[in-house]
Amino acid sequence: MVELQGIPVSPGVAIGPALVLDADGYRISRTLIAADKVDEEYARLLGAVDAVAKRIEANRLETAAVAGDETGDIFAAQLQMLNDPRLHGELRRRITKELHAADYAVNRVLRNYALALRRLENPMLAERAEDVTDIEKQLLQQLGAFTEQPLADLTEPVVLISHNLTPSETANLDRRYVQGFCTEVGGSGGHTAIVAKGLELPAVVGVGTFLDSVPNGTRVIVDGDRGKIIVNPDETTLASYQQRIEQSQTLSAQLAELRDLPAETADGTRIRLSANIEFPHESGSCLERGADGVGLYRTEFLYLASTEEPSEEDHYEAYSQVVNKMNGRPVIIRTLDLGADKMGHRPLAEQEYNPFLGLRSIRLSLRNLDIFRPQLRAILRAATHGDIRVMFPLITTLGELRQAKMLLTVVARDLKEEGIPHRADIPVGMMVEVPAAVVMLEKFVQEVDFLSIGTNDLAQYTLAVDRSNEYVADLYQSSDPAVLRLIQRCVEVADDWGRPLAVCGEMSSIPGRALLLLGLGVRNLSVPPLALSRIKKAIRSVSMDECRQIADRVMTLDSARDVDVFLLDRLGVLVPELIVT
């Protein structure tokens, strides 16, 4: 049994056989050959080695001609590795004595070497692991061992283990079979994490290098509540996790009973509890769990999940589907938030050194009107079916907000001239997620109908932490006192001007932090569908006085850690049912 610690990003427990994908997304399963096929299999390996050797030699000559002999020597070393007598001895032994298929033998032996090299303290040598991996891939390719899309043809439940998963890869996971996942890299605020939560898939990221030590098919537990990965659990551990799965199913059943009850505090203050969604089909689970509306519809997933660029009709159909399904409840559509870790299929910006400080979100939309315009048209058209509101993300300057609003007006005029049914008077709001916007909020608030705080980005930009960078992930906390002061200020400004203010970031889906937000004066929360029942349970278990006392105390604390410890303690007293044991 091996236990690893990562960052929990999507709650729940998954148990199952590991499906290990490397960076290129292939898997080599343990395949044995018949004893009388040993010679044939070994000959197949030698053939592959010859072919790869020829290719490497060609690479060497080509590179040396362009970049000089020194650089070409890299391939000389690769050739030397490919012809290594120890390597060949071990491959031959595995094929002839252990009856391993050539591709499986190559995969195991070269992975072991790569692992040994990566463990060296000398970084220059550790990097040679890349060469070993390169050789492994070339041999596997030559042996025809690649399964093109290992995730597309699943037939049994698996726990996915991978170096990295992009948001779109995560979005495309087959939920019938993938029970949960775990990646070597990634941080708690990345979009992969958000998608995982949307899919209600237990997930842990940022575990560090460990893929090489998990053979395919090994039993793995992903503990998305505590960020643990357990490889080859012993009986006791396995039993306790199975028990936890049962307990959480019982709790879900209890929480489901809250569905038709309002999100109202014990002393009768009504809180608007909405849902964050990324896919139209999620509107179903919003309703099942009694959401008051969609507080944040992340439209870029329309963009990321398909290989084609979405047309105005694609946008229109998706939005119409959501608003029809929500049946009169408000749906807040956030315009495209592409860029940084969410890129579509065509590169919209050159490689940026600091993509989170770069051309992303509203900035990118305003520079690419051929993308932005169809979306705005679709929003205004879909608004004929129900209560649709539009919200612009990452607004930093008044100029950006005005430009976006102007474009909305222009688009409405075009639709009118074309005689296409639409609504031009929908409420317009902005995300408050850049400290600059908080500082200037008195100006912004006069030009919008509503505000919504995105705590993920607000924390990232306030604390100067790249939220997808696992090295600094511990600094990234929406409960940091600095972030809380900004939120407090937003509430004051919004109240002064009588504008509704919501919090739609991750923060509102953590029960303790949600109670804190109520205490700070927030009356609109928007959370992933999975969190709706828990947050409703928390709201219904407390009085506003209790929440205000929490907020008063928290605002005297010095660090995110102190805040979280205090919140957890209060939650244990006020809503003990929600404490994960």
């Binding site: 000389a76 070393a77 030397q80 007598p85 390597l87 070497y113 040598l125 040679r128 060469d131």
Partner: protein
């Protein structure tokens, strides 16, 4: 048969340690001899004709390694390999020169 196996110690001199290029040279040199040649430290001896084994030694600059050879040309092999180490695999100067060029 109890013949004496010649053994010698060498020090890794080149700044970047026994990385891919020197390891490649070392394997080529070792492979030109009939003898079985081992290299290593602290009792962890590996085949000097296997580049992967050499790299996994992780020998940084300053590491002291033991070489032993067994075979008809054992003495010659050890001499040649010692020379290779002492010359710093011909990269001691080149590398420091390249580094200062990058720094400036």
């Amino acid at each position: 048969m109890n013949k004496k196996v010649p053994t010698r110690t060498v020090t890794v001199r080149n700044p970047q340690g026994l990385h891919a290029r020197p390891a490649d040279l070392l394997v080529r040199m070792a492979s030109s001899f009939q003898s079985t040649i081992s290299i290593g430290r602290d009792g962890e001896m590996v085949d000097c004709k296997s580049i992967l084994s050499l790299l996994t030694l992780g020998a940084a600059q300053g590491t002291v390694l033991t070489i032993s050879a067994d075979g008809s040309d054992a003495e010659d092999a050890i001499d040649a390999i010692t020379d290779l180490f002492e010359s710093g695999f011909d990269e001691t100067n080149e590398v420091s020169g390249a580094e200062s060029a990058v720094d400036s």
